[in-house]
Symmetry: C2
Subunit: 449 residues, 2 copies
Amino acid sequence: MNPANSVLLTDLYQLTMLQGYHDAGMEETAVFEFFVRRLRPGRGFLLAAGLEQSLGFLERLHFTPEELEWLASTQRFSPAFLASLENLRFSGDVHAMPEGTVFFPDEPILRVTAPIAEAQLVETRLINLLHLETMIASKAARSVLMAPDRLLVDFGLRRAHGAEAGLLAARASYIAGFAGTSNVQAGRLFGMPLYGTMAHSFVQAHDDEALAFEHFAHAQPDNVVLLIDTWDTEAAARKVVALAPKLTRAGIRIKGVRIDSGDLAGHARRVRAILDAGGLEHVIIFASGDLDEYALRDMLAAGAPVDGFGVGTRMDTSSDLPYLDCAYKLQEYAGRARRKRSEGKATWPGRKQVYRRHDADGRMAGDMVTLETDSQPGEPLLIPVMRGGRRVAPAPSFAEVRRHAAENLARLPQALRRLEAFDYQVEIAPALHDLVAEVDRSTFSCRSV
Amino acid sequence: MNPANSVLLTDLYQLTMLQGYHDAGMEETAVFEFFVRRLRPGRGFLLAAGLEQSLGFLERLHFTPEELEWLASTQRFSPAFLASLENLRFSGDVHAMPEGTVFFPDEPILRVTAPIAEAQLVETRLINLLHLETMIASKAARSVLMAPDRLLVDFGLRRAHGAEAGLLAARASYIAGFAGTSNVQAGRLFGMPLYGTMAHSFVQAHDDEALAFEHFAHAQPDNVVLLIDTWDTEAAARKVVALAPKLTRAGIRIKGVRIDSGDLAGHARRVRAILDAGGLEHVIIFASGDLDEYALRDMLAAGAPVDGFGVGTRMDTSSDLPYLDCAYKLQEYAGRARRKRSEGKATWPGRKQVYRRHDADGRMAGDMVTLETDSQPGEPLLIPVMRGGRRVAPAPSFAEVRRHAAENLARLPQALRRLEAFDYQVEIAPALHDLVAEVDRSTFSCRSV
């Protein structure tokens, strides 16, 4: 049993609220939207990801008899309420931005319209999935923008926060434009390209570094990328040159070398010179170790001769922004728009749509957030993806999602392509301001404040 | 199938190296150790966690026929090598610090001694598990130290990095001294106490806030904690007071109120006054929203009348330190100590032990890292936990692990109990310095540098 797939992977309060809705006979349609409240200064945009896993979760939503039995054993819930969960399935509608869509704070990327119990119950896991993949895709896109013509590989599994974080980080970074991952299980589950060479331990376990290289080359003749920084990087590069003719005679071609520590740019330059002088112009240099989009930008700006990068921990943990200020909020219940006004966390009520305008060059020129019913110029970004609990179309292929992301990234205005990005215009439509005034009036008039 | 339990949840290079070891006939015993290289300035200590999941992983280690078939389909590996994986199990020894042990950089907390293929293969997932739980336990311990006599509850599932991160963060924070979690699946899997009340959506879905409170109280009569910040916190507190007599007549007692936004300390003071004036002195105040150990320290220092805290996103993502600089490194192979000397990442070779001295008050007074064979004064922290692939003892109970952690935290010297902590002495024994010199001599004499 995969504990990640259980409906019990949720906050207790979802279940206690469901008991409340049940007892109060509240079964009307609710509308919830997922959005990011704000971004850290300097972060210019987000890249939507996680929809595929979210829809899979909604499709599978149910309580098993064992789960219901366990819930009963906690003595927190009434038998009548637990009985009502036996046949609970997700029967609602979902509108969403396709994975790979660039978006901004205040813009919903997913809307759930369903009986309130269903729409409420799924909150925790929907946030959990959309938050993680969107955060990683948004982070990965920054490396893609900084090194668009280099080989980028996800190396982050070991320090990702658990198994699912590693798997979904591999997926999210691939959507953003990475070439693949070192994560074998991600390769198998998602059909992603895999990359991998050797670790320092392989070299250390040999008494002789050159022998380690030779052993590896014979064991992986189609994949000879040699790690050269275990002891002395330049000395190891010279050993690679010395070994090459012997391998050539055995029909084996060295594909690349990897440098994982020290001044990567400096080592890369010296290693490039050694390889070139030794007739190994075709051998690529792959760099890894504490990399992120800033390191990529700086190394490439300095002209470091690096052909590929393994980007690991800092991407898979989104280390400079390890969480997004995101929420999944009730916007409508029983046909009436709803709003919370908590300090610093007030929400825009109602069912919303986002319209995007482009300039003559096809670059994004400004977004408008408005009510679904209020048509505006531009392209509507939220589309129906699930109706009555079923997908309206098969899941797009990885290739399609990657293409959509690449097209979106290509449309980013210049000001958003830098690492310190600012100033994309997201307007809140007059229709929405009007609704806020109306909701506040009606909420406060019918409550006894 | 739980993809987290698959042996394929690893980096490709583990498998390519295994092919290399196989082809080169390298089957000797290897010793790897897991340790943290360094801590960010201001972070004083770490709390070991994740051993239980790590041992479970080692016990289950195997390739299924489907996995081997899939590996064959990648055409990266030889049939003879893949055949050798059919019966691969973990047959080695493990020494480790028990979960809940305080430790410091340079100190191994887990040592694997096994045939090199086994010891190598498990690297990625062992790091993945030990890193996550240790990072979260270490973070959670800081909140425990700041608010030792308050109710602390993990609220972080939604923004934890995926399902496993949420589950293991709940577990790790419980080890560190939290009272429980909102994560239902963690409660079920680990037998942890569960906490949960209502969200803003529950209030918003009602036309009247007081009616929402009443509905909830009737649905969860033993668990009446009311969320009062959806619109106006103090007004809601007055509604709680007004509602109390009616609930009392129905035999229902209000247990607490929760505040989730704004100036939590200020609201708590005003709400406390309203509740007390209304005869609700017994009603506790629970605070949540963007909390971490700093916020807890500041609120309690300011005398905020808060009885419990929901600590979520910032703990479950360890947001100020979202990854540890940790490693699992080869320290010995075929009876010879090994070492890498990569810049900034050099390692201490050999099989090591950590000895801890205590002062007259029982407080930690200094650690010594040395070779296993070099006995030193103090308590040895690494103990045998697995021999020949089997645990030497049943897993300790949660209660035992929590007690061990509490005892360890109680022994922290005063300088390490503050949020900006410094200066615990970890010495590297002369025996280890001697071994480094010897390893460097022999490594460099037998390689052709």
